[in-house]
Amino acid sequence: MNLEIEEKQATIFDIQRFSIHDGPGIRTTIFFKGCPLRCRWCQNPESHKSGIEVAFYKERCAFCFDCKDVCPEDAILESEDVRINFDHCSTCGQCVSACMNDALRLVGKRWNALTLLNEVLKDKDFFDDSEGGITLSGGEPTMYSAFLREFLPLVKKEGVHVNMETCGMFKWDNINSILPFLDLIFYDLKLMDSKMHQIYTGVDNIMIIENLSKLAVNFSNLQARMPVIPTINDTQDNIADTVRLLKKNNLETIHLLPYHNLGEAKLPGIKTDLEPLDLPTDNGVYLLSAKKLFENQGIYVI
């Protein structure tokens, strides 16, 4: 499995200004493209592959087939739901420029450290007044360790607070080298049973649990998080095991995230093998009962 992209450029699929739920204050969240996990409930399936992709949004399509005229690879399909034959597509992007209806888009853009720095500094004044900063998210930001080693020192020189969200699947060196530049880490836990983890995320959880223990020792501002996926990881057993892991690592709090099925709507437009989970969006009921379970066992939920 590829856990590392040894490049000085990063592929980023979104930069969201005015994020107020990804750490303290007003933040700019950078979504890196590429992830070693394939969680079935993923809300950003377009983040999985590390390369640039073409995505199709069928509600906007006017069936004019201007895209077909310009495609050098003959990769445009004329069906209603699917426009791109990904096996032929070279992601040259010509169809995207040709489509006047915004029905085709390139997902992912290459950034070097300096241009990304300038982009995030646009909201520096807002960071300063709100004690906010930037959040590295994804995908899995640690995959871009080489890039971050160049980017983060620049950011820190400007006095910007840095939070990183990670799935925990990384080579220790990749995080260790950037640790001095991080102010906060959101660490996602999903399932404690390794086999189940394999089934729902595509990988086992051995490395993730190991990395958590290492970080707990080496980094002071670590915040565990868990997406509450109804009936899948909100079981008594899984929560009890999670509590045990947290306590073992002297972690006293967990941040719970409610489940949305918004990601599933994106699946047909991109190249993916992911299948919909077919669960309804949590209107808060599951989150609340999971919260109770944690709190009953002495873990404070935030």
Partner: protein, 783 residues
């Protein structure tokens, strides 16, 4: 305080259907039909006819009330001003009851009474008298009735002031008469000044008598009252009105009562718009403090009185024709109450009354008054906390004003520093000095994008052969953005000149035929100078012209630059051809819409909006009105962006013919794609100090974004940055988008949904269907 009482009064006002009151129109007409009266000096005419109205109009004290005074014969009502815009308004007489937007109750008999006075005013109303030549007169009236390029509000009167209520409360009409008598002795009899002083004395006496009438009424009502508690309340009202407004107020309650009666009277004098009590927390505080000390008042009791006063401000509505409603929708009289801010000495002037007003505002959430809060760097933390707590709970008020920028702006435009510090907004967002400015802040509204339409068609509208503006270069000959700008500037300059010519004619007509002695009596400078405010007697005399649609125009220019000169996807004639066909080719429309727009923190795009603003302020620079003040620019549009949108052709930014323009300085609908920080960064590129007539930035949040502690903090902090970087003003619309859709489809279910339109709050149901849709469409900012 008795919350029940306040709830009952509020409910009575809220459930009353607004109506038209004929009293002022009829009494005024009777006065002027008398030939002897018509021979008198205009100042005397105005003072006498207004006194007549105050003396003869029906007066009422409603159940539970503590502050007496009624604007009109209806619980919620508005008056007709036949000598001003009344004739224009009366063309709608038969449709008031049935019209969809802002319907107004009026009986058949009342309609008939008004019809009978039309012939008398038909060739006597102000707009008709503005020009000597008949050709100019008819051109002007036709322009007004079919506004395309600009709309002049001043033909309905000037108003728009924050009267010196501090002085009225302190010395009473008695004190003012004493002052005037001394001044009058120094001038020759039968001179302009002498007549002016004479008129002030007449109306001062008229106002004093108005108080006595309520005193008598309350006394009579008390005699017939069986409930001993209410009986005592009525006797108290009688005692208060016996003293004020004639005498200087001694108590907090007397001060409020004195001010309210004057508020009614000024609203009956000329245009009933934007008569603003202003910094009430500031000038009422000495009364509050004294009463509290003496034990005559408690905080709760003060809150009750403020609530009673505040509700009464919603008892007035403007009587506008359908046309005027398009410019000024939402039953809005623009009476502003301002809290907080620095004092004349530069130190924070907020006090306990500021909090009382904020609490009352939050509790009542009514259409009027229009609550504004001043913000500055040194304001106490709890003041900021209170405001953002209210806003994050979903309140649309108060709108926020940045002292640090506004004071600098006013000084730059000629205010003395202490006067600038003593500003309050009137109407929507326009800063004036309390008691010293007679600034016609809503003199006119100017349609900027239509100048570009003319520039792209040699001075003609798309599809028209009429040469409306100067003949500028044909697009086929234009080879650079420089050529496009040149044509735009020529058209803009031409219509600015025409506007100023029309405005000055109306300004002179106001001075000659409609002086305002009561207004002048409460404006510093008028008495000292011996001149009416309409003749430039006040200390400050600005006129504000609103720049409407600068953002669309900037986006349109950027789109031309991009599509024609950078991408070279279109030639200029081809682009104009598309516009003339109203962009029916969807492909090109989408292409144009997708080009970058103002509001996304993109300097290249934003620069075009800055260019449009510079052109506008440049045209007004150095121009003076006939009262000796400067023409200044306002960046707010009330609801005229909707109307001007309706009459403006397709634009190169991908906007079709008839679609609304954006409000104030907000990005064009749905075009701020990068969220609020990027949007505010674009707005912060504008040098707000160029806009002495105020600026309106309307930001809409869905309630989810700003919910809870995280939301409240984000809201507070994002505007901390905006203000620190030079932002002048901001107001909020906070709601769940679903609520609005439901309210549109099922108006009965949401009778009280309050939204902010342009510096003021209006009930959603009072808006036109297009305005409702626009509010819904306007950018939702959410995470």
């Amino acid at each position: 305080m008795s919350q029940d009482r306040i709830d009952r009064i509020k409910n009575a006002v809220r459930t009353s259907r607004p109506g038209i009151c004929t009293e002022r129109a009829l009494i005024w007409t009777r006065y002027f039909k008398n030939k002897e009266n018509r021979k008198k000096h205009p100042s005397i005419q105005m003072a006498e006819s207004l006194s007549d109205v105050l003396n003869k109009k029906s007066i009422k004290i409603y159940p539970d009330e503590l502050i007496a005074g009624n604007f009109s014969s209806k619980r919620v009502g508005g008056s007709v001003f036949p000598e001003l815009h009344g004739v224009v308004v009366m063309q709608d007489l038969f449709s008031f009851v049935k019209r969809e937007t802002n319907p107004l109750e009026i009986s058949k008999q009342e309609i008939w009474q008004l019809i009978k006075i039309i012939p008398f005013w038909l060739f006597r109303f102000l707009g008709f008298k503005a020009y000597r030549s008949k050709i100019d007169t008819f051109r002007f009236i036709a322009d007004q009735l079919n506004a395309r390029y600009y709309f002049i509000n001043e033909s309905g009167g000037i108003a728009h002031l924050a009267p010196d209520y501090e002085k009225l409360a302190r010395v009473g009409t008695e004190g003012i008469i004493l002052e005037v008598e001394t001044l009058q002795e120094k001038v020759l009899e039968n001179t302009e000044q002498w007549y002016f002083y004479e008129s002030v004395k007449i109306i001062a006496r008229g106002l004093a008598r108005f108080g006595k009438r309520y005193s008598d009424l309350a006394f009579q009502m008390a005699e017939g009252e069986s409930d001993p508690v209410r009986k005592q309340e009525l006797l108290d009202i009688s005692k208060v009105c016996e003293r004020v407004p004639e005498k200087g107020a001694v108590t907090f309650r007397e001060a409020l009562q004195s001010i309210f009666l004057a508020q009614i009277a000024i609203n009956l004098e000329s245009l009933d718009n934007a008569i603003s009590p202003g910094r009430m927390d500031n000038y009422l505080y000495p009364y509050y403090e004294k009463d509290l000390k003496s034990g005559a008042l408690t905080r709760e009791k003060a809150k009750e009185l403020v609530s009673a006063f505040s509700i009464k401000m919603s008892e007035i509505v403007p009587v506008f024709s359908k046309l005027i409603t398009k410019f000024h929708g939402g039953m809005f009289n623009g009476q502003v109450v301002t809290v907080g801010g620095i004092g004349r000495d530069g130190k924070d002037a907020s006090n306990e009354l500021s909090y009382i007003f904020l609490e009352v505002m939050d509790k009542l959430r009514m259409r009027q008054p229009n609550y504004h809060a001043r913000i500055h760097k040194e304001a106490p933390g709890k003041y900021h906390d209170k405001i953002f707590e209210i806003l994050s709970k979903g309140g649309n008020s108060p709108a926020l004003y940045n002292d640090d920028v506004i004071v600098e702006t006013l000084v730059r435009h000629g205010y003395d520093l202490p006067d600038a510090r003593d500003y309050t907004a009137v109407g929507c967002v326009e800063p004036v000095c309390q008691g010293k400015s007679f600034s016609s802040t809503d003199a006119a509204l100017f349609n900027v994008p239509i100048m570009l339409e003319l520039a792209l068609n040699q001075g003609r509208r798309f599809g028209s052969l009429l040469q409306a503006g100067p003949k500028t270069m044909a697009v086929s000959k234009m080879t650079s953005m420089g050529d496009v700008k040149q044509a735009f500037e020529t058209q803009h300059g031409h219509f600015t000149e025409r506007l100023i010519k029309d405005l000055q004619a109306i300004e002179r007509a106001n001075a000659a035929y409609h002086p305002t002695p009561l207004t002048s009596m409460l404006l510093d400078g008028c008495l000292e100078n011996g001149f009416c405010s309409t003749s430039g007697g006040a200390v400050y005399n600005f006129s504000g012209i609103q720049c409407v649609g600068p953002v669309e125009t900037g986006d349109a220019l950027y789109a031309i630059d991009q599509a024609v000169f950078q991408d070279r996807k279109l030639t200029l004639p081809k682009l104009v051809g598309l516009l003339k066909q109203d962009l029916h080719d969807e492909k090109w429309r989408v292409y144009l819409r997708r080009l970058d727009k103002f509001g996304n923190d993109n300097e290249k795009v934003d620069d075009y909006t800055l260019y449009v603003l510079d052109t506008f302020t440049g045209n007004l620079n150095g121009r003076m009105n006939t009262r000796g003040g400067r023409y200044t620019t306002g960046l707010y549009s009330v609801t005229s962006h909707q109307y001007f949108g309706e009459v403006t052709g397709a634009l190169p930014n991908g906007r079709r013919k008839g679609e609304s323009l954006s409000a104030g300085i907000a990005p064009s609908n749905g075009q701020d794609r990068l969220g609020p920080t990027a949007m505010l960064s674009s707005v912060n590129r504008i040098d707000a100090t160029n806009f002495a007539n105020g600026l309106n930035l309307n930001v809409k949040w869905d309630s989810n974004t700003i919910r809870g502690e995280t939301g409240r903090l984000a809201l507070k902090n994002i505007f901390k940055t905006y203000f620190r970087r030079g932002g002048m003003q901001v107001q909020f619309n906070v709601f769940d988008p679903k609520t609005l859709l439901e309210a549109r489809d099922n108006p009965d279910a949401y009778p009280n949904l309050l939204v902010r339109v342009s510096g003021y709050s209006a009930y959603f149901n009072d808006l036109t269907p297009e305005m409702k849709d626009e509010i819904i469409r306007r950018t939702y900012i959410s995470v």
